[in-house]
């Protein structure tokens, strides 16, 4: 479970994140939906303690990542915005490296890789050097690498950015499976269909704030709109509805 209380951060004079609070419980997919530059990535980066919040607090299963970053990271699996692989290493070696950094034994790593290969359908390229991988193959390896330690909490920043239909479906079904295993999944996106397809709870982020939350249905009811996209536009423009 991820709990966020009144998180704020500014870069110079720009206030990127303003008093963001929410709870992402276990057994649920929570989405941060917002336009580019709305403050999603900065919020996520504070949650996985890559940057220090100006104020506010984060709790990952009761652990404060600011105070105990290593402990919190063991409970977290993160697919960040940048997801570069080591091109001279094979997909397997990329994943093994992160497993070892997590302090896993070689046998633990190998059996985990076997199940990830299965779930993410990586059989064809698991032992190939990652140089020249397609976007979809790269994202799969990056997800496997991030989740090699089978964490309870999963954070993904725009996971399907730049993926084709088949890869997107693959990632979605993987997330559903992980949710079924009782995981807490938090992801950010600016794509409406994406959010509508997988998330249970949607948090609409605009100008550094969470300005609405609820299921897709609830958000449409709140705004009297008949699509998530219309509801989103209504919320972020205060009902003025720019085209």
């Amino acid at each position: 479970m991820i709990e966020v209380k009144a998180l704020s951060k500014s870069f110079g004079k720009v206030k990127a994140v303003k008093e963001v609070s929410f709870v992402a419980p276990d057994n649920q997919v929570t989405a941060l939906l917002g336009a580019n530059g709305a403050g999603k990535t900065t919020s996520l980066r504070m949650i996985y303690s890559l940057i220090t919040p100006e104020s506010g607090e984060v709790m990952i299963d009761g652990i404060n990542p600011q105070k105990e970053p290593e402990k919190a990271r063991k409970l977290l699996g993160v697919l960040p915005d940048s997801r570069g692989l080591y091109l001279r290493l094979t997909a397997r070696e990329n994943i093994q490296y992160f497993g070892r950094l997590h302090g896993m034994s070689e046998s633990q790593i190998n059996s985990r890789i076997e199940s990830l290969v299965e779930d993410l359908r990586m059989q064809d390229f698991i032992d190939r050097k990652t140089d020249g991988f397609s976007q979809g193959q790269r994202v799969k390896v990056a997800i496997a690498r991030a989740l090699v330690h089978d964490p309870q909490n999963i954070i993904l920043d725009e996971p399907t950015n730049g993926l084709d239909v088949m890869s997107t479906r693959g990632v979605r079904s993987f997330l559903r499976k992980e949710k079924a295993r009782g995981k807490c999944i938090l992801f950010s996106s600016h794509v409406m269909q994406e959010v509508a397809a997988v998330s249970d709870e949607i948090l609409i982020v605009n100008d550094g704030r969470v300005c609405a939350s609820g299921t897709e249905k609830q958000l449409m009811e709140q705004t009297n709109m008949n699509s998530l996209e219309d509801a989103f536009v209504h919320i972020v423009t205060n009902g003025e509805g720019h085209e």
Binding site: R73, L85, R88, Y97, L101, H102
Partner: protein, 393 residues
């Protein structure tokens, strides 16, 4: 968790060993190319010098008829006289002649009168190669002829020519056979130190700026490992490449030594086990400094190319003492022996000159270099912990 440190170091070494470009440019360039270049250059230079000094002296003379006895003297000394007609100055500028001796019409008259008879010698002091050998041999012959004639004249007047020699210089050159050769070898320390810098350069760039360029830094930082441990692992990998290159360079020089014209230069460089051990002992701590320095510079760059530009500038650091030492022979002091790069230079020079390197110098070099290296490593760690690391550049 020291296991994590070695996980990082092992991964970086494995990753970079797979890059043929890195292996070629660090280990091959540093270790093999340099000694080969050394052998070729040394042979070329010594052969050129030897050829000129031993070859028959050819003198281009304008106005041979004006000084028959001088010409005869030159011939008696084994010189070949070539009649020259034309503009002596232009011939030198055009590099048609190395040196031209012009004997003016006034020569015979002045000679008869017993006043200094003027001859003109044209040459280019700044010319490259062995031109200066020709000029100095002509000047020496002229001086010999002049003093022979002068002495005869004094004797004819009943004056002892010895009166002219108020001071007599007796040369005592105490340079040993090795120290003569050391002149040519002054750039050996530079080559060894450069090799070591080259060895760690690509690793420093790849593990720091490369990680940023590939966008793999952020995922890496999300692992449960302290940033200091992460950086220490990367530094160990970088230092390892520096040390491998150092060993390879020393080994390559040992192999190349017999092909260097050392005997012709009158030198015997002792590259035995003892001196090789000293080289390893004093050079190895320098790898820590080189790796840390390159890592610090690479932290500030966001792309491989940018880092390469800045890290290449660091190559000037090992050059500074090498260059300075070529021009000013200074007496070794303890503080110099504790100054990284300078101490390695001095000690390698001592070995080349066949001098015994004192234990205290070796200890000072090791302690001094390690201390500076560790301070730089701490700075690198400090910089790596900055939040702006991800966004810098």
């Amino acid at each position: 968790m020291s296991n994590q440190i070695f996980t990082v170091a092992k991964k970086e070494i494995k990753d970079n060993l797979r890059d043929r470009k890195t292996v070629m440019s660090s280990i091959f360039m540093g270790a093999v190319f340099m000694p080969v270049l050394f052998v070729v250059l040394m042979n070329f230079i010594t052969n050129m010098q030897k050829d000129k000094a031993e070859a028959q002296l050819k003198v281009s003379v304008q106005g041979t008829a004006n000084a028959t006895s001088l010409v005869k003297f030159f011939k008696s000394k084994g010189a070949e006289i070539k009649e020259f007609n034309g503009d002596a100055r232009q011939a030198i500028i055009d590099k048609d002649e190395e040196a031209v001796l012009v004997i003016p019409d006034t020569f015979a008259e002045q000679f008869e009168k017993g006043v200094p008879a003027k001859v003109e010698l044209y040459y280019d002091k700044t010319a490259k190669g062995a031109t200066n050998v020709t000029q100095s041999r002509i000047t020496a012959l002229l001086a010999e002829y002049s003093s022979n004639i002068g002495m005869t004249r004094l004797q004819l007047r009943g004056v002892s020519p010895m009166l002219l020699r108020a001071v007599m210089v007796e040369d005592h050159d105490v340079s040993t056979a090795q120290s003569k050769g050391a002149m040519v070898m002054t750039f050996l320390p530079y080559v060894l130190i450069i090799g070591l810098f080259l060895g760690s350069m690509y690793l420093a760039i790849d593990t720091m700026a490369g990680e940023k360029e590939r966008n793999s830094l952020e995922p890496l930082l999300l692992n449960p490992i302290k940033r200091s441990n992460l950086l220490i692992g990367k530094l160990i990998a970088t230092i390892t490449f520096g040390i491998i290159t150092m060993f390879a360079t020393i080994a390559a020089f040992k192999v190349a030594m017999p092909f260097m014209p050392l005997a012709d230069l009158g030198m015997t460089v002792d590259f035995g086990l003892k001196n090789v051990s000293i080289l390893v002992l004093v050079l190895a701590p320098l790898t820590v400094m080189a790796a840390s320095l390159q890592t610090i510079v690479a932290t500030y760059s966001k792309s491989f190319k940018e880092a390469q530009t800045y890290v290449n500038l660091l190559m000037f650091i090992p050059m500074i003492p090498s260059m300075a030492l070529m021009f000013m022979p200074i007496k070794e002091k303890l503080w110099m022996m504790a100054t990284p790069v300078l101490s390695q230079n001095l000690i390698i020079n001592q070995i080349m000159r066949g001098e015994t390197v004192s234990t205290i110098s070796i200890i000072a070099a090791i302690v001094g270099s390690l201390f500076v290296g560790l301070v730089l490593a701490l700075i690198a760690i400090k910089l790596y912990k900055r939040e702006s690391l991800l966004f810098s550049g």
